[in-house]
Structures are given as C-alpha cells and as structure tokens.
C-alpha cells in the first residue's frame, strides 16, 4: 500500500508499504478515509517533533472498519469510525486524576503517527479501544477533526470560563486552532470573544464566517488598546488562550489579563523559550498561567461536540480555507500549509 513515512531526511512516500496485520486479538484494521495534517506533523517533518524513525505519520484519522481481530466484539467491517490518538493505562496516579497524557505505563502522548503507525496510509491498524463509531451524517473530514477538537476543549476547560455571559475571553491567533476554538466557544454561548489575527487576509476570511459574538482585531490594535488603558484595573480579559506558541504573543498576552484572569498556553512554544513573570502581580491579582495539552478521555466529549457543530452547519471547512489532497500530493499539502495558502489540509488516501 502507499504510506507517508518519517525518516531523518524528512517525509517520504513509500509505495510498497505492507498492509498492516492484527497486532493482538483487539486489533482493528481501518481503511483510512481522511488523515488531517496538524501543526505537530509539520514539526515532525522539519525534524523538530518526536517520532519513531520509519513510522507512518498522521494522528487525525477517520475511516471505515476493514477487518477485526477475534477478540473485537463491537466493531464490524463497513462501519464508519474516528480514531483516538492515544490512551492511558487507567491504572496509575495520572490516569486516576484524569491526566492520562502523563500515564506512567503508556507514555500517553499521542502514539499513532509518532511511535505507532498512523493514518497517512491506505490502511492502518489500531486497538478497538481507540476506535469510535461516527454517525452517517458526519463527514470523514469532520470526524478527523475530533482529535484536535479534544485538545481545544481541554484548553477551554483549563481556561475555566466562569460566566459565559460576562467573562471576557481572548483567543490569540486565528489559524485553524484559534478558529476552531472560537467556533466552539461561540457555539456554547460565550458572549464576549475577541480573536487576534495578524494577517489582514485571514481577518477577512474570519469576518465572512459571520460569528455572532466574536470581535476580530489585529495584534497591534489590541496592544494599542492595552496601552491606552494601563491603570484601568478593569480593562483586560478573564480568560486568554494562546494558540500561536509565539514568544512575543505570549509575553504581551499575559499583560492583557485582568485581576483573577487565567492565561492558557495551547500553542506549543519553542523548547528554549523562557519568559519573565512578575510574581507579585500574579499573587496580588490572583492571576494564573497554565499549559493545556490534550487529555485522551476528552475524545468522546469532543466527538459529541463535533457532531453537534456539524449538524448546526458549523463545520464548513472549505469556508475556512481547507483543501483536500491525495496521498501522492502530500508534499504539496505540507507546503501549501507552511506557505499559508490554506488553513487546513486533509489527506484522502
């Protein structure tokens, strides 16, 4: 079969990859319908991410059940499914406090597409416990967005928006992550959402999406607003979620917190990036800064959210600037993303 693999030289199309076999009696073989490309995949391609040499890349996967091993009771060939990126052991401290991404026994960071073969291939083998049925009215593209949606929902959970009607929420960065987050927050009824997006083109794109409760600003406009209001203790945001990982955006973003505000880092910063925080300000104004990664058990909730968004007509990716590609065209997909021609790429093996 065809598959895109990671090697020390970057990504390669293997035209003669073996069709995967059952690994144990709970294996399910999937005929992949859609594999989404994620920012993490771009990092892996550029040698900056963690990946097993030779692994097939791709962790945002949906498809059709092709074959099931002897111990699989729930799934049957032909069923439409979405695949969860990772799973904890359920039996260690971190799993017991709902943080199985730090699971001691499975090293719970996403394994498909990094340490286990992933979805940019015609077929993929997964565990039944990572497989979820999807309704017929949910597109495979939509289903493949469950994995990124689960981490966005987590960022919103950690941001802990106190009052949907009155809390002031800022999302920094209007790429696919920021857009998906704003879409979700708007959908669940958060009334005061500001989104900063540097590029004027993208601001126009977002305006066309016609969100009700979202104000879109450039980062310079917001910073001017901040400077004009220094000294006003009530200016600022109660919940800020950074989707850029950009050092300057984060350092400025922290200044935009108002008392008791919470800053959540969702975008992955560079490894060596440090910032200075004023501990007095954090303590005396009870501010908070947290990381938000991904929590495997959020996948089911995320799938429910994706289904609802889809049925509300709120998952029209092509309006977002999303494009589909064949496996053979994976290089174009990556370069279109990196050159910002598109905001999201789906590979259809």
């Amino acid at each position: 079969m065809k598959a895109v693999r990671v090697t020390s030289d970057g990504l390669h199309l293997d035209r003669n990859a073996q069709i995967p076999e059952f690994e144990h009696e709970h294996s399910v073989i999937i005929k992949v319908a859609v594999a989404g490309i994620c920012g993490t995949d771009i990092n892996i391609k550029n040698g900056k991410g963690r990946c097993k040499d030779g692994a097939i890349i791709g962790h945002e996967t949906s498809g059709i059940v092709h074959a099931v091993a002897s111990g699989v009771q729930i799934f049957k060939p032909g069923q439409r499914v979405a695949i969860k990126g990772t799973r904890g052991c359920g039996n260690c401290y971190f799993c017991s406090v709902r943080r199985s991404m730090y699971c001691k026994n499975r090293r719970g960071i996403i394994y498909y597409g990094t340490t286990r073969n992933g979805g940019m291939a015609e077929f993929m083998v997964v565990d039944d416990a990572d497989t979820y049925l999807i309704p017929d009215d949910l597109s495979f593209q939509g289903a493949s967005m469950t994995e990124p949606m689960s981490s966005l929902i987590r960022s919103a959970y950690i941001a802990s928006i106190e009052d949907k009607d009155n809390s002031k929420v800022l999302v920094i960065g209007g790429g696919i992550a920021g857009l998906n987050l704003v879409n979700y927050l708007d959908f669940i009824g958060v009334k005061h959402i500001t989104l900063t997006q540097r590029s004027e083109n993208r601001r126009k794109l977002i305006a066309n999406l016609k969100f009700k409760n979202v104000t879109v600003l450039s980062d310079t406009e917001l910073h001017s607003d901040y400077l004009q209001n220094i000294g006003d203790q009530h200016w600022g945001f109660d919940n800020i979620i950074d989707c850029t990982g950009n050092s300057e955006a984060i350092e400025n973003g922290i200044k935009y917190l108002r008392p008791a505000g919470k800053f959540v880092m969702y975008g992955v910063p560079s490894k060596d990036f440090s910032i200075n925080i004023n501990a007095f300000d954090f303590m005396f104004r009870e501010k908070q800064i947290s990381g938000a990664l991904v929590q495997p058990n959020d996948f089911e909730d995320a799938l429910n959210v994706i289904i609802k968004l889809s049925r509300a007509g709120r998952l029209n990716f092509h309006n977002y600037g999303a494009k589909e590609y064949n496996l053979e065209d994976f290089e174009t997909a990556f370069s279109d993303l990196e050159s910002r021609k598109i905001i999201k790429a789906f590979i259809l093996p």
Partner: protein, 351 residues
C-alpha cells in the same frame, strides 16, 4: 482610646484616637479582644503593601459586641464574634464569580486594617454583615485566626489537591502560614506532605509536634533531591504552596512540580522581582502557576473549620511558640516575631 496606626514614618501608638461611632444603621461597635499580627502587617510596616495613611492596623480580629445600631437584628450586646476582613458588593462581575476581593465597590478597597480602621485598638466599628458569631469554647485568640484560615482555604480553591491519598504536596516555608496549612491538610487526610523549613531550630520545633505523614526538610536537602532526580519524570510534587514570597524559593518551586502540577503563590513576593521560567516546559507538562490571594465569601467556612480544629485539639498554639501582648507592647510583639523568638503574636487590646 489607644490605637496602633500606620504613618509615613512607620507604625505608632495613638493614645487619643476617638472611639469610633456608628457609620450607618447596620454598624456595630466591637470591643476588640484579640487581634493577630500577620505577615501582611510586616509588609505594611515596611511600606511594601498599599494602605491608607493614618489607618489603624489589624485585620485578624475577634471581640465582643459593644453597641449595635438601629438596623442590627442578628447580634446582641456582649456577643462573642469573629470579624471578616472585607466584603464585596455582590453585584458586579467579580463578586458574581467569587472573586469579590477585586470588587470595585468593596473587596480590597474596604479591607479592615488596610483601608478601613482595623483591630489594633480598644474599639472598632464594623458592618453587621462582617460579623460571625463564635461559640464560647473558642478562645478569642483562636477566633482571630478565622481570617487567615479562610484565606488558607482559598488556596485549595485556586489550586485543588486532586487526591488526598496520592497527591504529593509541598509547602515552602514553615512559619505560621506554612504551619497552619500543614496542620489543616494533615487534619483533612492529605497523606503525602513535605515542608521546607530553612532553620534547623524550627525543623526541630515542627518534628516535636509529631505530625503523621509529614516530612520536614531543609531547602538545600530538597534541592539536592531534585538534582539527583533530574531524569525521573515521576519525581516532584502535584501541589506546591509557597508561603515564603522568596524569589529563589518560587523559582525552585516551579522546578519541583511534576506534570500537571500546580504552584500556588501564597506568600507576598517583592514587587520588582521577575521570575524567569521555561514556557515550553510549562505548556507540555500542563503545569500551572497561580496567585492565591483571598476570597471573601468563605469566612463562615473558615470559622467552622477553626472550630472543628479547636475541638479536635489541633490548635494547641503553645507548641508553636505563641504569645499575647498588650497594645502598649505592640513594638515588642513585632520585634519578637522578627527575631523569631515566637511564631505568632496576639495583641489583646482589652487588657
């Protein structure tokens, strides 16, 4: 009356302060029986904590009702009470989300002993809504600990301990704040508590208190352990509570977190100091740094916890090194605390 006030030259005893009068029909005049000295009072004394010039200090207060205004129905003359440091308007964004210390009409802007006259005086005027009745078996000294107790409880609001059996908790600093936190967490059944205390003398004092499930270490010992375990992702603490305000301690506290760990800043840090931290580490390990200031709506809960601890025999202050002083001796109280002769001082203005 006598009162200890804040002035630009520092604290001073005013022997001729006017006895306070009713401010409105829900005013209560209190005969102050016990007022605790707090770390914040030291910060105020040093000019590092914003206060109103000429204010009477003291925000950890208990006393007896002396006189009530016409609209007061819940309290009677002679009744023993604890006094809540401040209150919000209950009608703004911050009050509605339980952050009333930032209320623009109340909160920190109405704090006794900071903005409004406090308890380092023979009498004080309060609003009836700031009072909480206390039982006869709770001494005035202990009752004055309600305010610090409710602020301590708030730490657990902003940085909850997920699992009493398994979560690893570190308290930085074994002064009165750290000890109170240690005492409370131990009492409610947190099983893995470590306390950092620099002074060997204080470490011994704490060891003599015979807490179960508590390890007391020096800061250097813990740091060695951290360095020895640098490759081990399972080493570290799920909750670190800094009671010191010390820059180096806070920077280390961040390092001692294990994945998904939370650092609560409870001690007041210096104003101009910045702490440098690796943000990638914070993000991928889902660490959290949070301020833990105060939450005014839980005063009654603080009083209830204090009563419970007292009745369980867990508030035996003599072991901590505690002393009572008169108003006239307030300077000695501050000095004895600074010299670490004692760990807690109560001023009893009615003696």
């Amino acid at each position: 009356m006598k009162a200890v006030k804040y002035g630009s030259d520092g604290l001073y005893l005013d022997r001729n302060a006017p006895i306070p009068e009713f401010e409105h029909d829900h005013s209560v005049i209190i005969r102050v029986k016990a007022v605790g000295i707090c770390g914040t009072d030291f910060d105020i004394k040093k000019g590092e904590f914003p206060v109103v010039d000429g204010v009477i200090l003291g925000h950890e207060i208990s006393g007896a009702v002396h006189k009530i205004a016409s609209g007061v129905t819940d309290f009677k003359q002679g009744q023993r009470v604890a006094i809540n440091g401040t209150r919000g308007c209950t009608n703004c964004y911050f009050c509605n989300v339980n952050k009333s210390m930032f209320c623009s009409k109340g909160g920190a802007s109405k704090y006794y002993g900071v903005v409004r006259n406090g308890g380092f005086a023979e009498y004080m005027v309060v609003d009836d809504a700031d009072l909480c009745a206390i039982p006869d078996d709770l001494s005035f000294q202990k009752a004055s600990m309600s305010e610090p107790m409710s602020s301590l409880l708030h730490i657990l609001d902003v940085a909850p301990i997920d699992d009493k059996e398994q979560s690893k908790v570190l308290i930085i600093g074994g002064g009165i704040a750290g000890l109170n936190i240690l005492n409370y967490l131990n009492f409610i059944g947190v099983k893995n508590i470590t306390l950092i205390q620099r002074s060997a003398h204080r470490r011994k004092l704490i060891a003599d208190m015979k807490f179960k499930n508590v390890t007391v270490v020096s800061d250097t010992d813990l740091h060695s352990e951290y360095l020895q375990n640098s490759g081990n992702p399972g080493w570290g603490f799920d909750n670190v509570i800094d009671c010191s305000g010390n820059t180096e301690a806070i920077a280390n506290g961040i390092k001692y977190l294990r994945p998904a760990g939370k650092l609560a800043l409870y001690g007041l840090p210096s104003k101009d100091v910045s702490i440098n931290m690796n943000i990638y580490d914070l993000m991928v390990l889902e660490k959290c740094i949070t301020g833990a200031l105060y939450q005014v709506n839980n005063f009654k809960e603080g009083v209830d916890v204090l009563i419970e601890l007292s009745r369980a025999g867990r508030l035996d202050f003599d072991n901590y090194g505690v002393k009572d002083y008169t108003l006239d001796d307030y300077e000695k109280a501050f000095n004895d605390l600074t010299d670490r002769k004692i760990i807690k001082a109560f001023i009893l203005p009615s003696t």
